[in-house]
């Protein structure tokens, strides 16, 4: 962004798609060009942006989403490790009766602050012919 004094220099040094026009130096000076404002705020810092922020993923929703997950583990006192173990054991039990896609199996906590549900999504490939032992 050292292009304030000489627009020609700027055009040569950093030819970007949107800021090539005659006013390109101004665009970049004001840091309005999306293609150059990805990182630090330079110039006047008008378009200062968190480099990690993508659409809909601002710091606020990051915090909310992470917190919800953490609190579900806190409240249920089930660690990610335990959850993985549960998943494995579930696979074993269900596999006795049906063939399932163990790769695509999902097991997660879901819910709002009132209720927590353990949601399992278990894709079934095909059934097994299992003779249930009569007691």
């Amino acid at each position: 962004m050292a292009s304030i004094t000489s627009p020609n220099n700027a055009d040569k040094s950093e030819p970007t798609q949107n800021s090539n026009g005659p006013l390109g130096w101004l665009v970049r000076f004001l840091n309005l060009d999306a293609s150059t404002s990805s990182g630090r705020a330079i110039g006047l810092g008008l378009a200062k942006k968190d480099p990690r922020a993508t659409a809909g993923e601002d710091a606020r929703s990051h915090a909310v989403n992470r917190l919800k997950l953490v609190l579900m583990h806190d409240r249920t006192q089930i660690s990610p490790d335990t959850l993985a173990q549960m998943r494995d054991e579930l696979v074993q039990v269900i596999s006795k009766y049906v063939e399932i896609d163990t790769e695509a199996l999902e097991l997660n906590f879901e819910g709002d602050s009132n209720t927590i549900a353990l949601m399992a999504n278990i894709p079934v490939l095909r059934g097994k012919n299992v003779v249930v032992a009569a007691s």
């Binding site: 915090a63 917190l67 409240r75």
Partner: protein, 325 residues
């Protein structure tokens, strides 16, 4: 701000003292005038016998807690207490953070502490000797924590006794709880029947608040708990960089008692030993006054924290074309 302030020299000419039912929730509308005169009747020189006071009160005991340290428990205690005293209620603030006492500093009373809560519990002095009267508000008193002892110096039963003795004399007993979930927290909450949870819109504070709320719900004595969201920064919320009030309420599933904006005046007033509610033009001061009125049972709408945009924000908005949410 519409506010009945009580002139220091003649408290009797203004608002009549009011007392509320112990079992009422924070929202209870049952604010009824009490027969008691507001002068220092109950504070007659301590006699050997327990004074049989016909005007004995049944004050509400409220613990201010948070889990995480540094979110503003002590500031909140000092300000709600002072706010209630300004409204004409009789208030005792109790610092239960034994070993790390700070409430006296925030109240500007640090030079007047002679006895503390441990002295009372261990019988070295009468309760009346340990209560420090705030000269600015004749109906506001402080029971300080001991600085040279630790949390084991007072147990749950002793804390209950202290609270029982105090609530017979005043309208509100506010307990400043230590951070953490250990014995200090258990002691502080044992005497209370209501709780105020202080939290900031930060992940760690919200997580700790969630833990505290879980523990409070497990305590039968605590009839209700409400949240104060402290140190809110409207500018950061506008730019979606900080969690909003609704986000935190949704995550914690708790009722809101009030919202306090981040305010440099709090630092200034703390340094002066004056709770921010005494600075009426400050936003945080108004927010705390509103909270005090809600605690007393009034229905006060939330303060609008959205200050006008700063020049920089306007310029930024103009160039980016984004309207702040």
């Amino acid at each position: 701000m519409i506010q009945t302030t009580m002139p220091d020299p003649k408290p009797s000419e203004t608002v009549a003292l009011q007392s509320t039912e112990t079992q009422g929730s924070v929202d209870a509308k049952s604010v009824k005038p009490s027969v008691s005169a507001d002068k220092a009747v109950a504070k007659a020189p301590a006699t050997k016998d327990q004074p049989v006071d016909p005007n004995a009160k049944t004050g509400r005991v409220i613990v201010v807690t948070s889990g995480k340290g540094g979110v503003g428990k002590t500031t909140t205690t000092a300000n709600i207490g002072t706010g209630l005293a300004k409204l004409g209620y009789k208030v005792v603030l109790v610092d239960t953070d034994i070993g790390l006492r700070n409430l006296d500093i925030l109240m500007g009373l640090e030079n007047r502490i002679v006895y503390n809560i441990v002295d009372v519990v261990e019988g070295r002095c009468k309760m009346q000797q340990a209560l420090v009267k705030d000269k600015r508000f004749p109906n506001l008193q402080l029971l300080a924590a001991a600085q040279t002892r630790d949390k084991s110096a007072v147990n749950e039963e002793q804390m209950r006794q202290v609270c029982d003795e105090l609530k017979a004399q005043v309208d509100f007993v506010l307990l400043d709880c230590p951070a953490g979930i250990e014995q200090g927290f258990m002691n502080a909450t044992s005497g209370a029947s209501e709780a105020i949870v202080v939290c900031t819109p930060e992940m760690s504070a919200v997580r700790d608040a969630d833990r505290i709320i879980g523990l409070l719900e497990a305590r039968e004595e605590i009839k209700n708990h409400k949240l104060i969201l402290n140190r809110l920064r409207p500018n950061l919320i506008r730019s979606n960089d900080m969690m909003d009030v609704d986000d935190v309420l949704d995550i914690l599933n708790v009722k809101l008692l009030g919202v306090i904006p981040e305010d440099r005046d709090i630092i200034v007033s703390t340094n002066r030993g004056e709770p921010i509610v005494m600075v009426e033009e400050s936003l945080a001061g108004q927010a705390y006054t509103n909270i005090a009125r809600r605690v007393a049972g009034e229905d006060v709408p939330l303060l609008d924290l959205n200050q006008p945009l700063t020049l920089m924000e306007k310029v930024k908005q103009f160039f980016t074309g984004k309207r702040a949410g």
